[in-house]
Amino acid sequence: MIEMLSYEFMQRALLAGMLIALLASISGTFVVLKRYSMISETLAHSALVGVAVGLVAGYNPLWIAVLVAILSAWLIEYLRSSFSLYSDAILAILLSGSLAIAVIIVSLGGAFNNSLFSYLFGSILSVSDEDVLTILFFGTLSLALLLAFAKELYFIAYDEEVAKTSGIKVKLLNFLLVTVVAVIIALSIRVVGSLLIGALMVIPTVSALQYRVGFLNTMFLSIAFALFSVVSGMTLSFYFSLPSGATIVICVLIIFVISLVGNKK
C-alpha cells in the first residue's frame, strides 16, 4: 500500500477515485430509490459524445463530456415530464442514440485509439492534475447541492405527488438531481470508464438496501461500500496490472453478492 502511494499518479487516481465513490454513492441512493437506475448508463453514453467531440476537436474531453451529459439529462427530464413516454424507453432510446453519435464522430475524426479506450473502461494512469482539479471543483459543487436538498430528494423518491402537494418544487429538484448525476458521471469516466460507472452508482445502494435500515444508514452503508470498492479495486489494479474500472466493479459486485446472501430471509 505504501509502495503504491509513493507514485504520484496513484495518489491522483486514489484521490479522484475516492471523490467519485463518495459522489456516485450519494447521488446513486436517490437515483435507485426513484427507480431511475438506468439513467446512469444513458448519461454515461451521452458523456461519450462529449469525449468524442473533445478528442476530435482537440478540447478537454472531460469538460465537453460534462456539458453534453447535462444537456442529455435535461432532455431526458423534459421528455419524461412533458410527453406520455415511458421513462425506461426514453433512456433506452437516448443510450443507443448517444453511442451511435459518439462512434460516428470518433470514426470520422480518426480518434479510435487508446485515448478513447481509457474513457470507455477507465484508466488510473491517465488521471492528470487537471482532471483531479476538475473533479474537485465540480464534485464539491455537486456534493453541496445534494446535501442541501437531500431531505427534499428523499421525499420525492418516496412519493413524488405527495411531495408536490406539500409544497416541494418537485420539477425543479428533479432537474437538479439529473444535472448533478450527469456531472458526476461525466467526471467519473476518467477513472471508472463510461461503460462501468453505472455500476458504481447503483450497486453500492442496492447492496446497502439489503440490510433494511433507515435512510441515513442506507446512505452511509452505500458510501462505505463504494469507497471500499474503489480503494480495493485500485490497489488490486496496481499490483496485478488489471484495468481499474473493471476491478472496481468486480469489488462492488462481490460486496453485493455478500450483502444479498447474508441478508436472505
Binding site: 405527488e161 402537494t165 433494511r212 433507515g214
Partner: protein, 256 residues
C-alpha cells in the same frame, strides 16, 4: 351546514376536465369550509380522484377556477395547511429504506430550510403527530415491516406533521383489515371534532361513516352535494349513482 360568511378552504367554480375530448368532470362547483367533514362517493371512474387531484394542483382543469384559502391555486403557497393521504398510501414498497420516524418527518420537509436539521418545533410536531396516531412506539421500525393498518396511521401522521388545517384522504383503506378500518374512521371523527381539522374523504363505505360526516358529495361526472347525508342514502339514489341495484346496511353504533 357550512357557515357562509367565512372564506372557504376550497372554492371551486364551474370546473371541467376532459381528456382527448372525453368529459371526465363537468361543471363542478363546490365550497368546503373550515371544520367540515365531507365525504366524496361515487362509482370507480366517476371522477372522484380526478376532482381531488385538481384541487391539489396535480391535474390541470380544462376550464373553471379553484381557490384555496381565498387564493388562486397558481398563487397558493401555504401547502403545509393541507395534508394529503393518497389512495395507495398503505401500499408502501417494502424495500424502501424508511423508518416510521423517517416517513413522519417528511411531513416537515417543506417547512425546513436548505441544509437544516429538524429544530425543536419540527421535532415536537413530528412527535405530536405520532402520539395522535398512536405509533410513537413504532418510530424506529422499518415501514415495510408494518401491517396495513399501522402503515395507514403512519401516512396520516406524516400528513398531520405539517399541522394541516385540512386533511384530504383518497380511499386510504386499500390493504387494511376491517378492525383497523373501524379504528381509522373513529380517529378521523376525533380529528374533526377535537382538533377542528377539516376532513375531505373519498370512500365507498358511506354507510359506516354516515353518522360522522356533515356533507356528502356524490361524483359521477357531475357533483351532487347533499347537506344531510342520511337523506341522500336512499337505495334508489345509490342505485342511480352506481348503476346497479344497491342495498344499504346502516351503522347502528349510536343507537344503543
Amino acid at each position: 351546514m357550512p357557515i357562509k360568511f367565512k372564506i372557504p378552504i376550497f372554492d371551486v367554480k364551474n370546473l371541467n376536465f376532459s381528456v382527448r375530448g372525453q368529459s371526465i368532470l363537468s361543471n363542478i362547483s363546490l365550497e368546503i369550509f373550515n371544520g367540515e367533514y365531507v365525504a366524496i362517493i361515487g362509482p370507480n371512474g366517476g371522477g372522484k380522484t380526478t376532482l381531488i387531484r385538481m384541487l391539489l394542483g396535480l391535474e390541470e382543469p380544462t376550464s373553471g377556477s379553484i381557490k384555496l384559502f381565498g387564493k388562486k391555486l397558481s398563487n397558493f403557497k401555504a401547502w403545509h395547511k393541507i395534508g394529503y393521504v393518497p389512495q395507495r398510501a398503505s401500499l408502501v414498497d417494502a424495500n424502501f429504506p424508511a423508518t416510521v420516524l423517517d416517513i413522519v418527518s417528511m411531513g416537515r420537509t417543506a417547512q425546513r430550510g436548505i441544509f437544516s436539521f429538524m429544530n425543536k418545533k419540527d421535532k415536537s410536531a413530528v412527535e405530536d403527530a405520532m402520539i395522535k396516531m398512536d405509533i410513537l412506539n413504532l418510530k424506529d421500525k422499518m415501514v415495510g415491516t408494518l401491517s396495513g393498518g399501522q402503515r395507514q396511521r403512519v401516512m396520516i401522521a406524516r400528513a398531520l406533521a405539517s399541522k394541516p388545517e385540512i386533511l384530504i384522504l383518497d380511499e386510504p383503506n386499500t390493504g387494511v383489515d376491517m378492525v383497523s378500518q373501524r379504528n381509522f374512521y373513529e380517529l378521523l371523527a376525533k380529528l374533526n371534532k377535537e382538533e377542528n381539522i377539516t376532513i375531505v374523504f373519498i370512500t365507498h363505505d358511506i354507510g359506516v361513516i354516515a353518522d360522522d360526516i356533515g356533507r356528502l358529495v356524490t361524483v359521477n361526472q357531475k357533483a351532487i352535494i347533499c347537506n344531510n347525508p342520511k337523506e341522500a342514502l336512499s337505495c334508489e339514489e345509490m342505485s342511480a349513482l352506481y348503476g346497479i341495484e344497491a342495498h344499504l346496511i346502516h351503522n347502528h353504533k349510536h343507537e344503543h
